[in-house]
């Protein structure tokens, strides 16, 4: 874009009044872990569904000393991650990084970094549909009552159906969790592989849904339990092979289609994790390839 976009706009795009309003919502969300706090979401210069909630949360908490990392699908160089990172570079001038350990704020869509987060870090999730009961009950008035009365039996009906039909719980992402033993929460469409990372994380986790105008939070060291049955316990997605590039196992992998004859390769979804490992000398089966 040719125009000097940042001039004429406040630090981090939003005006200070709006940021204070959003910070109040964030504080309330932290005080009631897992509860969806309505907030007056603003129009943002990117479309709804592309991270407007996460961007508003980040814009409200970011300061000049922060170091920002933005990932989408675990990767720093996917189009949307690049776009949002550039947005903050332009509107705040803060330092950005791809290294998970160096970031103070990590905005993410669909993944939690593989490297454990630490105290003082904030993970900001972009959330499309914040209501975990939405696809069982479309009406907001009814779902709010269900949360108020802690009526979560319906969610288990869904899991029961999965087992009855497929032999196990067939929810592989957006897998519902109970937060601090009280609120049923949607972890955003992260693969369920990442659910255990939310449990008692040292980092503050903030969730922003712009179109649906909701903010919710998991304070550090909060219990986050994935729903399940005693005889069908929660399990994370597993992969048969390690990362073809860095040899990591126990990480989430992307499937890359190599040709139309079915050849495929599995590589780390968290690109920073993969690059760090390779820099440390780890190699996978296809270690010299560049994806």
């Amino acid at each position: 874009m040719n125009a000097p976009a940042a001039s004429g706009y406040n630090f981090a795009y939003l005006d200070e009044q709006t940021k204070r309003m959003i910070r109040r919502a964030i504080l309330k969300a932290i005080a009631i872990p897992g509860y969806q706090v309505p907030f007056a979401s603003r129009e943002m210069p990117m479309p709804y569904g592309w991270g407007t909630g996460g961007v508003q949360v980040t814009a409200s908490i970011i300061g000049e000393d922060d170091v920002l990392k933005v990932i989408d699908q675990g990767s720093d160089d996917t189009t949307n991650a690049v776009s949002i990172r550039k947005f903050f570079e332009k509107t705040t001038g803060v330092a950005t990084t791809t290294a998970t350990g160096e970031a103070t704020i990590i905005q993410t869509r669909h993944r939690i970094p593989e490297a454990p987060l630490t105290e003082g870090q904030v993970l900001v999730y972009q959330v499309p549909i914040p209501e975990p009961l939405r696809f069982l009950e479309p009406r907001e008035t009814e779902t709010r009552t269900m949360h108020a009365l802690e009526e979560y039996g319906l969610m288990h009906v869904k899991l029961y159906e999965d087992i009855a039909r497929h032999g196990h719980i067939a929810t592989s992402y957006d897998y519902p969790v109970m937060v601090a033993g009280r609120y049923l929460m949607d972890p955003s469409p992260t693969p369920k592989f990442d659910n255990p990372k939310m449990h008692r994380s040292a980092a503050l986790q903030l969730f922003g849904a712009g179109r649906e105008k909701r903010i919710y939070a998991i304070p550090p060291y909060t219990d986050v339990v994935s729903l399940d049955f005693e005889d069908h316990p929660f399990e994370v997605n597993r992969f048969d092979t390690p990362c073809a590039l860095c040899g990591a196992s126990g990480v989430y992998l992307d499937e890359v289609v190599l040709d139309d004859r079915g050849r495929r390769m599995f590589v780390c979804s968290d690109t920073d994790h993969c690059e760090t490992r390779r820099a440390d000398g780890h190699r996978g089966a296809d270690g010299d390839a560049t994806p």
């Binding site: 039996g153 319906l154 288990h156 009906v157 029961y160 159906e161 009855a164 399940d228 005693e230 069908h232």
Partner: protein, 268 residues
């Protein structure tokens, strides 16, 4: 009525449900006028009348789906305390409705989740009460399917694929799985073929006797009332015009209107 509450008799001698002065106006039109009755544990009360007589309004009031203009509905909770149902908090009322009470709709599609399996339909109340063992929930669902004479092979089929009679039996199982003490039924045999009706009534009678259920059943069909109920209330234009033991009322109706109802059935 209040005397009965204070009476230091055995639990089962005290009414489970005490309704008094129950009145509902729709604008200026009365739906239900000054209805009162006691219902004891294990007792089946049939409410009969023509369409528009107010019997469905009465049932909706009892189920707290409508707010009454006047009157009270008092229920003996499991801890023995008599509570005005309308004064319960919404949380308490919803809990009561899905544990200690049941409601059987005339149209099973309203009482079932049509897109989830029969097993999940029966198991939903158990899960709502916090049961978290899939195998146990399924075993109970199977047990209940057997008790309502549905082939357990059908446990994973959705009610969409069931016949009308099976849907109705499934709805009954879904309600009874938490061992409620009071079940409200709205024309449970309406819309079913005569032979299917007979089987369902037979099943209902057995279950009610085995479980000691108290039932309020609304029907326009006196034959249904005769088969399943102990007591009968005849409604007309929103008011109860005659009440008594079922056989007594049907064999020897006092009110001319009841006589007309009974004779019209006999002619058929």
């Amino acid at each position: 009525m209040s005397a009965a509450l204070l009476a230091p008799e055995a639990d089962d001698d005290r009414p489970l449900l005490t309704v008094s002065g129950l009145t509902k106006y729709y604008g200026e039109r009365p739906g239900c006028l000054d209805v009162g009755f006691d219902l004891h544990p294990g007792e089946v009360l049939a409410i009969v009348g023509e369409s528009g007589s107010g019997k469905s309004t009465l049932l909706s009031l009892l189920a707290c789906r409508l707010a009454p203009t006047r009157g009270t509905i008092r229920y003996r909770m499991r801890n023995g305390a008599m509570r005005d149902v309308m004064s319960l908090t919404e949380a308490e009322r919803r809990l009561l409705m899905r544990t200690d009470w049941g409601f059987v709709h005339q149209d099973a599609a309203q009482g079932l989740r049509m897109r989830v399996s029969a097993g999940a339909n029966v198991g939903e109340r158990l899960m709502a009460l916090g049961q978290r063992h899939y195998g146990d929930i399924r075993a109970q669902a199977k047990d209940w399917l057997q008790r309502v004479e549905i082939d357990t092979d059908r446990i994973d089929d959705p009610p969409r694929s069931f016949s009308g009679g099976m849907r109705q039996r499934l709805q009954i199982a879904r309600n009874l799985v938490t061992a409620p003490r009071l079940v409200l039924m709205d024309e449970p045999t309406g819309g079913l073929d005569v032979s299917v009706q007979a089987r369902l009534l037979d099943l209902l009678r057995g279950l009610v006797a085995d479980l000691g259920l108290a039932v309020v059943i609304v029907t326009h069909d006196l034959a249904v009332a005769r088969l399943v109920s102990h007591r009968l209330m005849v409604m007309r234009q929103g008011s109860v015009i005659e009440t008594g033991l079922t056989d007594q009322v049907l064999d020897d109706p006092r009110e001319p209107y009841t006589q007309l109802l009974v004779s019209s059935v006999l002619q058929v």
